[in-house]
Amino acid sequence: MGRNRHLNQKKGGNLAQVQHVVLILSGKGGVGKSTLTTELALALRHSGKKVGILDVDLCGPSIPRMLSVGKPEVHQCDLGWVPVYTDAQKSLALMSIGFLLEDPDEAVVWRGPKKTALIGQFVSDVAWGELDVLLVDTPPGTSDEHLAVLENLKKQHKVDGAILITTPQAVSTGDVRREITFCKKTGLRILGIVENMSGFVCPHCSVSTPICMDTHTPSVLVANRSPVSFRLASCALFRWTQSSV
């Protein structure tokens, strides 16, 4: 892979033909990062864009299941790993550790340095080709995976920014405020915040009930509570109400 990396650097790297890179982040787990990444990718593809998803959640990779790609083989080419395409037109390209595991139930029990090394490879050694947008799905937190993906992306490519996902609960927004600090400290631009699970529409009576009683998301945006909030206030806040499945 060393020789290929040298080849990549000469040609501008595997991200040279990727127009935009957007991270999907949340301090909190289970708020819908992978779900939103998937929906966003499908929406962008539907509008005619070529999209990639890089799944750097090594312990809990959800993207393969969400896109129902099963367990395809990952092949190599001169430039590195060939991403998994969801269709013959190659309009949606994926890379996840989920594709590299022999057994889907196998636990990836790795400490930070090993995770950092694989994420470095995911960033530089996947032959994405031409993409309009590369979405990066991340695990919850502000640790090895986040630092690794950001450091490696910055070496190769300008990162457009991050979309932060929260749910209305204070327990969620509390973690997301920490993620905002992470973005500020690492110089990562926040493109906007999505409040997921804003309500549940009962399939029996069609009444929308909040899953949690109050929303604490505005506290994330209040100017005097967060040093970056004056920019956040101008970002769109999307409320996503979950309809019955």
Partner: protein, 322 residues
């Protein structure tokens, strides 16, 4: 010994790692020769120190899930409240989610600080018989982010186990972050000479959760951590208007019940999604006392009883007298 020396380079694998002294990041590090010689891979003395400390803790329960957002912290907090409702029991809750510590908020302890005494760090008390420790108490602002790599998180967990003055406890509950990484390996490693009763695994009904939870179960099997059982959380939503139950997260692959059958595990119970649970957590109150008539409260009580029964029936013949 698993720490990063202060003069180590940025991607130091840790002195106790198999790769100590051997990675590309080790080039030029002043400790490289020492690490690659294997001298740093001697057993961490903290393991025995922690075992000594844990002699006064009768039962240790880990709350795990491969998946985020399934209700580990909510469950851990309410398990602690339920066990501590017996005033004769001493209970403690340790939050090792270093990046996303939710326990201070859920226990109504936001803004509390930890104090040091001659016998170590004092945990924060919710009740006379319910103590809590979390990195949340060491942060000065709710916006403070803990942007740490694995080795530094491991060091914190070691301190929590070794340096907190827990005193005599009937139950120590450990709330964990999602995943199977540094925090999980460290908690198992540092408690390796102290007996862990077992793990309670939390999931929600949908396959996207179960696929991560199966990995967590494999992790437990790999590190020989007994599994007390599985809790299926958010198992149905009762509409407050029409009282019909809907599946927010449909168990398209059989939910936790089928997973438990396939993996020969105990399903401890199913907890329905009651919006008032989230509200209680946000307000730092116990849902069990705020909404005692909820079907979710009844489910929690039944699950807690099963966990207590497990702990009492699995005491080894000889407890180490130290």
């Amino acid at each position: 010994m698993a720490d990063i020396p202060s003069d180590a380079p940025q991607h130091c694998p840790g002195t106790a790692s198999e790769q100590a002294g051997k990675t590309s990041a080790c080039q030029g590090c002043p400790n490289q020769n020492l690490c690659s010689s294997g001298a740093t891979k001697a057993p961490d003395p903290a393991i025995e120190e922690i075992a000594e400390k844990m002699l006064t803790v009768k039962h240790k329960i880990l709350v795990l899930s491969g998946k985020g957002g399934v209700g580990k912290s909510t469950f851990s907090a309410h398990l602690a409240h339920a066990l501590a409702s017996d005033a004769t029991k001493e209970v403690a809750l340790l939050d090792v989610d270093i990046c996303g510590p939710s326990i201070p908020r859920i226990m109504g302890l936001e803004g509390e600080q930890v104090h040091q005494s001659g016998s170590g760090w004092s945990p924060v008390y919710v009740e006379d018989n319910l103590a809590v420790m979390s990195i949340g108490f060491l942060l000065s602002s709710p916006d403070d982010a803990v942007i740490w790599r694995g080795p530094k998180k491991n060091g914190m967990i070691k301190q929590f186990l070794r340096d907190v003055d827990w005193g005599e406890l009937d139950y120590l509950i450990v709330d964990t972050p999602p995943g199977t990484s540094d925090e999980h390996l460290s908690i198992v490693q540092y408690l390796s000479s102290a007996r862990i009763d077992g793990a309670v695994i939390i999931t929600t009904p949908q396959e996207v959760s179960l696929q991560d939870v199966r990995k967590e179960i494999r992790f437990c099997q790999k590190v020989q951590l007994p599994i007390i059982g599985v809790v299926e959380n958010m198992s149905g939503f009762v509409c407050p208007k029409c009282k019909n139950t809907s599946q927010i997260f449909p168990p398209t692959t059989g939910g936790a019940e089928r997973m438990c059958e396939e993996m020969n595990l105990t399903l401890l119970g199913r907890v329905p999604l009651d919006p008032r649970i989230g509200k209680s957590c946000d307000e730092g109150k116990s849902f069990l006392t705020e909404v005692p008539d909820s079907p979710a409260a009844a489910a929690y009580h039944s699950i807690v009883q099963s966990i207590q029964a497990y702990c009492l029936s699995h005491v080894p013949r000889e407890e180490s007298a130290g």
